[in-house]
Amino acid sequence: MPESESAAPPTTAKRGMPPKSIAIWAAVALVGAAGWAVLALSRGEEVSAAWMVAAALGSYAIAYRFYSRFIANRVLKADKTRATPAERLDNGVDFHPTDRRVLLGHHFAAIAGAGPLVGPVLAAQMGYLPGTIWIIVGVIFAGAVQDMVTLFFSMRRDGKSLGQMAREEIGPFGGAAALIAIFAIMIILLAVLALVVVNALAHSPWGTFSIAMTIPIAFFMGFYLRVLRPGRVTEVSLIGVALLLLAIVSGSWVADSSWAETFTLQPGTLVIWLVVYGFFASVLPVWMLLAPRDYLSTFMKIGTIVLLALGVAFALPNMKMDAVTEFASSGAGPVFAGSLFPFVFITIACGALSGFHALVSSGTTPKMIQKETQVRMIGYGSMLMESFVAIMALVAASIIDPGLYFAMNSPAGLLGDSVQSASEAVANLGYTISPSDLTAAAAAVEEESLLSRTGGAPTLAVGMAEIFSAVFGGAGMKAFWYHFAIMFEALFILTTVDAGTRVGRFMLQDMLGNVYKPFRDVSWKPGAWIASAVVVGAWGYFLWVGVHDPLGGIYQLFPLFGIANQLLAAVALTVATTLLIKSGRLKWAWVTAVPLAWDVAVTFTASYQKIFSDDPKIGFFEQRSVYQAAIEDGKVLPPAKDMGDMHTVVTNATVDGVLSILFLVLVIVVLIDAGRVCVKAIRNPAATKLEEVPHVESKLVAPAGLWPTKEEKAELVTAGAGADGKESTGTGSSS
C-alpha cells in the first residue's frame, strides 16, 4: 500500500462546529443564495451586478470552507508533518520555503492571464446567466480542484512538470501524446491571443503607439536592472509604471498629431510586426526584454484587477444584457457558432477550468511551498480569485448596451462597413442601436470605429471604461480608461506571447534533439534560432489566417482555442485521476473523475460537432464542401467577396478541421493509455509503482491558511517564531 494512505490524519479532526461559526456560515450561505435567486428569477428587468458578485463570493466562501477542506484532509491527506521539496532541497533560490501569502500572489499572477478576461466577454452573447453559472460551478468542482490536485502531486514529486508526470506515471506512449498535445495547443493559444491584440490595435494610433512604447520602456528597465542597480525591482517597476501611464496619455497626443498616420496600421501589417517582435523577443537575452516586461505586466495586472474589483463594488452597475439570449438555444450567434452545450463551456474556458494552469501548478509553485497543507489555499484559493476575475469581465461585458456589444463582436462580413449597415445587421439579430449611437460610442473612447472589434479585449475595455469613469474621473476620462484597459490586456498578452514562444521553442528543441543531438543543447544558437523561427512561423500562420479569414478570425479560431485548452484540462485531470487511483485513493477518485467526465463530454461533443456537423457554420468539413462546391459552380458565397476569399475559406476550414482531429486523437490516446494504467492499478494494487518522494519529517512550522488558527499560533510560539508565522520563513527550521 502506498505511503500516503498510512499518513496521520492532518489537522485537528474536531467534529461539530461551534454555534458562532454555524451562524456565520449560515449568513454567508444566505447572501450567496439571495444572489442566485435574484439572478435566476429576474426576467425583463435590469439586474444590479451586486447580485452576481454576491452569488459568486457566497458560493466561493462555502466551497473553500467545506469542499476544498474535504479534498485537502480526506482525499489528498495533505500532511503537515511531511517536509515539502522547498524544505528538503532548500537552496535559497529555486527551492525555498516561501511565505504562503507571497506564494499565493506569485501563483495567482502566474495563472491569471487574458483567457478569463476574454472568454466570458464572448460567452456573453448567450446572456449573462449561463456564463455566471459555469464560471462559479465550474471553478468549484473542476478548475480549482484540478489546480490543487496537480499542485499536490507535483509537490510530492519535487515539482515535476505535467508532461513528466504523464510519462512516468502513465507511460512513454501516453506521455509522448501529452507532450505533442501541449505543443500544438500552445501554438493555437499564442495565435488566438495575438489575434486579440491585433483586433484591439488595428486602425488605432493611440493604442498602437502606447503598446509600441512598452518595448523601449522594457529595454530601459532591463538595462537599469542589469547595469545600474541590479535587483532593485520595486524602484524600477515604479519608474516603469509611471512611464507606461505617460505612454497611455501621450498616445492621445500622437493620435491628434501628424504622427497618427504612422501608427494607424492595417491588421496585416500588425501581424508582421508581431511576428518579428515575437522572434526577437524569444532570442534576445531574458534580461533585456522578457524579465522587465514580466515585472511591468505583473504590476499592471494585479493593480488593474484590484482597481476593477473596487470599481465594480463602488459603481454596482446594472446589467443591460439579457439573462439568456435566444442564441443560447438557436446556436446562430454572431460571436461564435453553436448552442449553449457545449460551446458556452468551450468559450469561457480559463475562468472556470483551464488546462494551462496545470503547467503552472506543476512547475515553480510546488518547489516553493512551505507546507503540504498550504496546497488548499494556494491551489484552490488562487483559482477562486481567477474565477472572480472572470465574473468581473462578464459584468463589464453585460453592462454595456447589447446593441453595441453585438456591433463590436460580430464579424465584419456580417456588419458591412458603415454604421448604417451595422445598425441594420444588429437589428436583424434582434437588438437595436442607431447609427449615431455607434458613432458616439466610438467618439467617446476616441477611436475611429468600434465596429467588429472582435476578440473581447475592446468590449472589455469599453465596459471597464464605463465602470472606472463612473467612479474615477467622470465621462471626460472615458477615453483614457479605454486605452488604459487596452494597454493592460495587450501588455500581458504580449508577455505571454514572448514567454510562450520560448516555452514552445524549448519543447521543440527537446523533441528535435531526438533526431539531431545538438538541438538539445539550449545554448546552441543556430538551434535556438531555427526552433524559434518554426514556433513563431506556426503561430504567425494561424494569426495571419485569422486576420484575413472572411468568416472572422475569432469566430473561426476561438472555439478551436477553447477546445484545445479544455482538452489540456482533460489531460491534467486524467493524470490527476490516475495518480489518485495509483496512490490507493480509488474511493475518492470521483473528485477528479467527475469533472474529467464532464470535460470529456463537453470537449468531445464540441470536437465532434466541429468535425462532423452538417451545419456549415459549425462543422469545418461541411463548411469546406459547401464553399468548394460553390467554387466549382463559379459562385461567391457571402461573406466572401471574391474567388480569392472563397479559396481562403476552403483552405482555412481544412486546416482547422484537421487540427480538431489531431487534438482529439492525441487526447484519446492519453485517455486510453491512462485507462489501461488505472485498470492495472485497481486489479493489482500491490504491484503499483508510484514515483513519489518518500516521507521526510518536517521541521518547519507554518500555518495552512491565510490566518493562523489558535492551535497554529500556539505551535508558532513554541517553535520560537512570531505569532504571524513571518519568522518561520526560510530560516525557521534552524532558529
Partner: protein, 68 residues
C-alpha cells in the same frame, strides 16, 4: 515622528512580504543560506548573483511561465 512598536512591527512585516514578493529579498536569502553552511564562504556580489539568476531562465524558460 516616532512610530509605536506595534506600527513598526506592522511596517516591518509589510516590507518583508513586499521584498519576498518582488524577489528583492532573494539575494539576502542566498547570502544567509551560503553563510549558514560556512560562515566564511565566498559569496557572489549582488550584481553577479542577479545576473546568474536571470540568465538561469534562459536555460529553462518554463520557470516562471505565465498563463493564458
Amino acid at each position: 515622528m516616532s512610530m509605536s512598536p506595534a506600527l513598526k512591527e506592522k511596517a516591518a512585516r509589510i516590507r518583508f512580504l513586499w521584498r519576498e514578493a518582488t524577489g528583492e529579498a532573494t539575494y539576502d536569502r542566498y547570502v544567509a543560506h551560503a553563510r549558514k553552511c560556512d560562515p566564511r564562504a565566498e559569496v557572489l556580489s549582488r550584481r553577479e548573483f542577479e545576473r546568474q539568476r536571470v540568465d538561469g531562465r534562459e536555460a529553462d524558460p518554463r520557470e516562471g511561465f505565465r498563463c493564458c
